[in-house]
Every structure is written in structure tokens, then in C-alpha cells.
């Protein structure tokens, strides 16, 4: 079916089709609408979900964990301070290997208070052990949320699917949706690795492991994350067969014979596409590498792709405050460190707090990367 939906509406619609067993959430701009609209599906009897409006995001994630431990398929949505308030529970969800799926309308973190889109909330949760997807369009958000459920449940790891706050969450797009039954057949039932409510086989969840086992547990969690990439590719291929839409983990846009490329995630990829087209029309050999999956870090794919270029600009919609370049920049420079080619890599931080990032800004960045003249490590695009 072809529908006009905002990012939030598309997420809510996808959640309706996924029909999770439990959703627990707390309102926060700009993601409120996701669960708000979803609660309408609950009250209209279109889903079988137990919907729990809790008293804070910390409780929301805790309720999700409680339900997931009992074998349920669990989802939630949040943003910004809400995700920050969930922080300690994020690690518990990942450590307990619970495939909770969270829709995030990415928004900057206080202070100063700002409700608009950047990636500081999701990227601040980077080390919590969650899979992280960043989407370019509303369509991609819808498709990715459905895929994320299957990926998370196969990997036994929680997953976060991000769309940029307001830029996508409140922007209406034409999207193609699947039939409810197609989504439900695609996902099937969750087959939990363990179930607290299986009273014939009582288990203890979350006990203390000190020097005896903690490290081994973490090591196995890390190994779980290391094995996610093939699962993502497998699920994407399956999804491609039913939906006819495919999203590579790493997309190269007009990168053939490119001398300079930029690497980035999220909605600004669409902006950069326009800039690349304009510059290609002028005969400039530039391209874009779009990264769709931030966790697990797809280092082998990144290395294979990026060694082909001489100059690379890495664009972060978040700053890690006094680290050596933006968060994605540091990941990419370490990926490229042990290659013979060692391309030039420049760091660009743009769009913090929803600051507008135009095709002209993107052209400026591409031009700079192409000429390779950088006085400073990090360029803050468009800041006064």
C-alpha cells in the first residue's frame, strides 16, 4: 500500500504490523507521537499488545527488560534525555541478551535545552551493546524497524533504529508499506533463548558475577555482536525478497572513479546526494559513502570501501567534545590505520541541535575534501 506518513507515523504503523507483546514508554519530544499513535492501535484493538505508560524512561526500559526476560517481543520509543535516562538499563538489556527494539527520533542532549535533531543521544549510547541503525528516509525507517526485530531476535541483542528528530520524525513522505500479514509472517514468533516464566526449568536472571565469570560473560556478548553482520545481511536479503527494497549496510553513491568522498549516517545522506549530483554535473569526481549500521561497526566493509579513495571527509552530526575528531571519524581513522593506502581523512561536525544542513553546505564540504586543504582537524560546518 502507498501511504503518506511522517517518520513517527511510519514507525507507529510498523509497530502495529509487528504487533509486539509489550510496549512500555514515556512521552518525550520528538518521539512521543510514535507510542501515542501506537496506543491508538492498542485501544482500537488492532494489536494484541500490553501497553504500559510508565512514569519515566528509566521505568520504560526496565519494564521492557522485565517483559523480554519472560520471552515477550518488546518495543519502545524515545529520544534525547529519555534515552540518556535509560542509559544504565541499556547495558542490562544487552548484557541479558534481550532483543528489545527501540525506535528513536534522534535529538540533541541538554544543556542547552534543544528539541531538534542530531545524533548525540544515540551515539552517547554507543558502548551499551545495542545494535544501532541510522536511516536516511522515512521509508528506510519503516523498513529498518521491521528488519530490526528479526535481526535482534536472531542475534539475541537489542536494537535501536534512529531517524533524525523533526527532519524525518515530523516530515511527511510517500512510503510503500507491506500488508500486515506479510510482516507477521516475515517475523514469526519470537523464540527466546531463555524464559523466566518457564516454571519447569527455573532460572536465575541477573546474578552477581565477579572476577569469576563477569569477563567471560562480556566476552561472549562481544562475540555475539561480532557475529551480527551476516545476520543483518541475511535478514536484509529476506526482506528484499518480500518488499523489493534493499538497503546495503554500506552504500557507495557515485563513488566510481571518485577522488574524494564523504562518509555519513542519517537524513543528511539525502542532502549530500543532491550535492554530489551537482558537483558531478560540473565534472568533479566526488561521491558519498552512506553508513546505515553504526553498531556493529562494519570495519571490514568500511576498510574495503574506503581504501579506494584518496581523500575522505567523515561527517558527524554529533561531537564527542574534545576527542580527536567526531565519533565516526575516530572509528574510521582507526579502521584505516593498518592499510597501506592510508587515505587522507578529515573530520566534519555539522547540524548540531538541528542546525540546518543544506546542499550548499554539503557542496562546500565536498569541495574542501576534494582540494584537501584543511588547516584544522575538525571543521564545524556552518557554526557562527
Amino acid at each position: 500500500m502507498i501511504l503518506a506518513k511522517t517518520g513517527n507515523e511510519a514507525f507507529a504503523y510498523a509497530m502495529k504490523q509487528i504487533n509486539p507483546d509489550v510496549v512500555a514508554a514515556y512521552p518525550i519530544t520528538p518521539s512521543t507521537e510514535i507510542v501515542q499513535l501506537f496506543s491508538n492501535y492498542v485501544s482500537d484493538g488492532e494489536v494484541d499488545t500490553e501497553y504500559v505508560p510508565v512514569e519515566s524512561e528509566h521505568s520504560a526500559m526496565t519494564a521492557c527488560i522485565g517483559a523480554a526476560v519472560c520471552g515477550c517481543r518488546v518495543m519502545t520509543a524515545t529520544a534525547s534525555q529519555g534515552l540518556a535516562l535509560m542509559h544504565e538499563m541499556l547495558f542490562i538489556a544487552a548484557g541479558l541478551r534481550l532483543p528489545i527494539v527501540m525506535a528513536v527520533a534522534s535529538r540533541s542532549l541538554s544543556s542547552p535545552l534543544n528539541i531538534h535533531g542530531d545524533h548525540s543521544d544515540s551515539v552517547a549510547s554507543r558502548d551499551s551493546g545495542w545494535l544501532q541503525f541510522f536511516c536516511e528516509t522515512v521509508q528506510e525507517g519503516y523498513d529498518t524497524l521491521i528488519q530490526a526485530v528479526k535481526i535482534a531476535e536472531r542475534a539475541n541483542l537489542p536494537a535501536l533504529v534512529g531517524i533524525d528528530g523533526f527532519i524525518l520524525s515530523h516530515c511527511q513522505e510517500r512510503i510503500e508499506t507491506l500488508e500486515d500479514q506479510v510482516v507477521r509472517d516475515f517475523l514469526g514468533r519470537r523464540k527466546p533463548a531463555y524464559n523466566l516464566l518457564d516454571w519447569r526449568n527455573p532460572i536465575l536472571v541477573g546474578p552477581a558475577t565477579l572476577q569469576d565469570y563477569y569477563f567471560e560473560f562480556k566476552r561472549s556478548e562481544i562475540e555475539g555482536m561480532n557475529q551480527v553482520l551476516p545476520i543483518i545481511e541475511e535478514v536484509q536479503a529476506e526482506f528484499g525478497r518480500i518488499a523489493g527494497r534493499k538497503y546495503p549496510v554500506l552504500e557507495e553513491y557515485r563513488c566510481e572513479d571518485a577522488e574524494a568522498v564523504v562518509v555519513l549516517m542519517g537524513s543528511a545522506c539525502g542532502t549530500v546526494r543532491v550535492a554530489v549530483d551537482r558537483m558531478r554535473a560540473k565534472g568533479k569526481k566526488v561521491g558519498m559513502v552512506k553508513l546505515r549500521v553504526f553498531r556493529p561497526l562494519v570495519h571490514s566493509l568500511l576498510k574495503k570501501s574506503l581504501v579506494k579513495f584518496k581523500k575522505i571527509g567523515v561527517m558527524d552530526r554529533v561531537d564527542a567534545v574534545n576527542s580527536y575528531g567526531g565519533p565516526l571519524f575516530t572509528e574510521i581513522t582507526s579502521v584505516l590505520y593498518d592499510t597501506d593506502e592510508r587515505p587522507w581523512v578529515f573530520s566534519y561536525v555539522y547540524g548540531l541541535g538541528g542546525k540546518e544542513f543544506t546542499p550548499e553546505d554539503a557542496e562546500m564540504v565536498l569541495e574542501q575534501v576534494l582540494t584537501g586543504k584543511e588547516d584544522e582537524l575538525v571543521t564545524y560546518v556552518g557554526v557562527r
Binding site: Y26, P27, I28, T29, T32, E33, Q36, S39, N40, S43, Y51, P53, E55, S56, Q81, S110, L113
Partner: protein
């Protein structure tokens, strides 16, 4: 330096910088804010001796409009921030203003523990029974069975009585008023500010945009009439805590003062220094 209007009331606001405000037409928060400022003026509380702290939400936007020391903190966290401010500057008047979602839900734990500690400040809880800023979800004060964005068939949860909790948790002074009873509201805020200890004023306020619409209560004028007819003075009821379907307004609890937290803390510091 900004231009002063030579009107003490107007000069309490950042008129040129921050107005017009973002509140919906007919909202009761403006009434509460203006009444609060009139009490500051009546009591002679100078802008330099006052710090107003808020969390996040419609009512919490008040801090942005006042021309005194204000701190717009995180959702639910006004009271912990206010605790720090009061301990650092016990001589300062500290007032917390926030809504039912902010203070009773995500910040509920801070509310009961600040009351238990008897932190000497005043909390103004603007209770409009809903999360207004995010679109009218039901809050911990939304009465059972009433409708909200997240409760189209009625809220199945039980609701908090803000004043009852404040009293049970150890507040020195607890009062309730409404945005219809402005003179009464002013009196209640005045008494609360004069109390040395944890004082709470619950202000029942109208949200015609969400709560009123979901309950079919009509526009702001109709909601003010609703506040008028639903309210009953505490003097006219036998037991204010057992009244179910009316807003009991007035001083609900006013106990003999005990030393407040900042004073006890200061005494402890002095004792430790002597050793």
C-alpha cells in the same frame, strides 16, 4: 542592560526578550506565574534574593520568563537542583515550579524525599491532570476513568492526591487552590513562602487544549467555571482527605515548624568545625 519599564510587576519579567510566551490560549499557567510574582512583590522578595527552579514541561517554562536567577533543569529534576542551590545559599529564597507530570511522575521520588528531609523551599505544583507539552497523555494525577491521549477509553490507573502525598511525606505546609480563585491562590502562595520548611501549593489549573478537550469540558471560560463549581473550601468539609469529587481548596496542613534541612546541615558543619 535591558530597559526597565518602571513597573515592579513588568520588571519581574523578561518582557522584551522572552514574550510572547509559548503557552496555549486559555492556559492557567500564566495566571499562576503572574500570581506568584505578585506574591514576591507583596512580600518584598527582591529579584537578587530569589531563585526559581523548574524541570521540563509547560509549567516549567515559567523560569524562562522571569527576570531573577532561574534554573531550567531536566525533566523531573528541579528538586535535586533546588536542594543544591538551597544548601549552597541558605539565605536565598528558593521556589520550585512544575507540573504534575514533572513533579509527581518522573520526579516523584525527589518530591517525597525533599518533603521527608524538610528542605526549606516552596514547591508550586501546577496540576492540569495531563502531560500538555507532549500532547495530552494521562499523568499520575489524571483521575481514574478519565480520558487522555493514551487513555481513549478511560484511565484504569488510580491517581495521586498531590497534597495528601506532600503531607504524608512530611511537608510542613500544604495548600490547594485553583487558577479561578486568584485572590485565594495568592494567599496560599504567600502563606507557603512565609513558612520555614518544605511547603507545597497545588494549583489546579485548566488545560483547555488537552485535558479539557478530552473530558469535554469546553473552552477556558467553561473550564474556569468548572474549577469554580468543583471547588469547595476546606472549612466547609468535615474531612478534606476523604472528599472524592470536589477540589478541596485552602490550607490543608500547617504544622508547627521543625528545624529545616539547610539549618540542620549548617549546624552539623559548625559542630564538625569545632572538633
Amino acid at each position: 542592560m535591558r530597559e526597565l519599564k518602571n513597573d515592579p510587576f513588568l520588571d519581574f519579567f523578561r518582557v522584551d526578550e522572552r514574550f510572547p510566551h509559548i503557552l496555549c490560549p486559555g492556559c492557567g499557567i500564566g495566571t499562576t506565574m503572574a500570581t506568584m510574582v505578585r506574591v514576591f512583590l507583596d512580600l518584598g522578595i527582591k529579584q537578587d534574593e530569589l531563585c526559581v527552579v523548574s524541570g521540563i514541561g509547560c509549567s516549567s517554562r515559567v523560569t524562562g520568563y522571569l527576570d531573577c536567577d532561574t534554573f531550567h533543569t531536566l525533566h523531573g529534576r528541579a528538586l535535586p537542583a533546588a536542594t543544591g542551590i538551597k544548601l549552597a545559599r541558605p539565605d536565598m529564597k528558593v521556589v520550585v515550579i512544575g507540573g504534575d507530570g514533572d513533579i509527581m511522575a518522573i520526579g516523584g521520588n525527589h518530591f517525597i524525599h525533599s518533603a521527608r528531609r524538610n528542605l526549606d523551599l516552596t514547591v508550586i505544583v501546577v496540576n492540569n491532570f495531563t502531560y500538555g507539552m507532549t500532547g495530552g497523555q494521562y499523568s499520575p494525577t489524571t483521575p481514574t476513568q478519565e480520558r487522555a491521549a493514551t487513555a481513549p477509553f478511560g484511565n484504569v490507573e488510580r491517581s495521586f492526591n498531590v497534597c495528601f502525598i506532600a503531607r504524608a511525606a512530611g511537608a510542613m505546609f500544604v495548600a490547594r487552590s485553583t487558577t479561578f480563585h486568584v485572590a485565594h491562590l495568592k494567599k496560599m502562595i504567600q502563606l507557603a513562602l512565609q513558612k520555614n520548611g518544605f511547603s507545597v501549593v497545588e494549583v489546579i489549573s485548566q488545560c483547555p487544549t488537552f485535558y479539557g478537550r478530552y473530558q469535554g469540558l469546553g473552552d477556558a471560560v467553561k473550564m474556569l467555571e468548572w474549577l469554580k463549581t468543583r471547588s469547595v473550601d476546606v472549612e466547609k468539609v468535615a474531612n478534606p482527605w476523604s472528599v472524592k469529587d470536589r477540589f478541596v481548596i485552602g490550607v490543608l496542613h500547617d504544622q508547627e515548624e521543625v528545624p529545616p534541612y539547610s539549618q540542620l546541615y549548617q549546624e552539623l558543619r559548625n559542630r564538625a568545625k569545632e572538633k
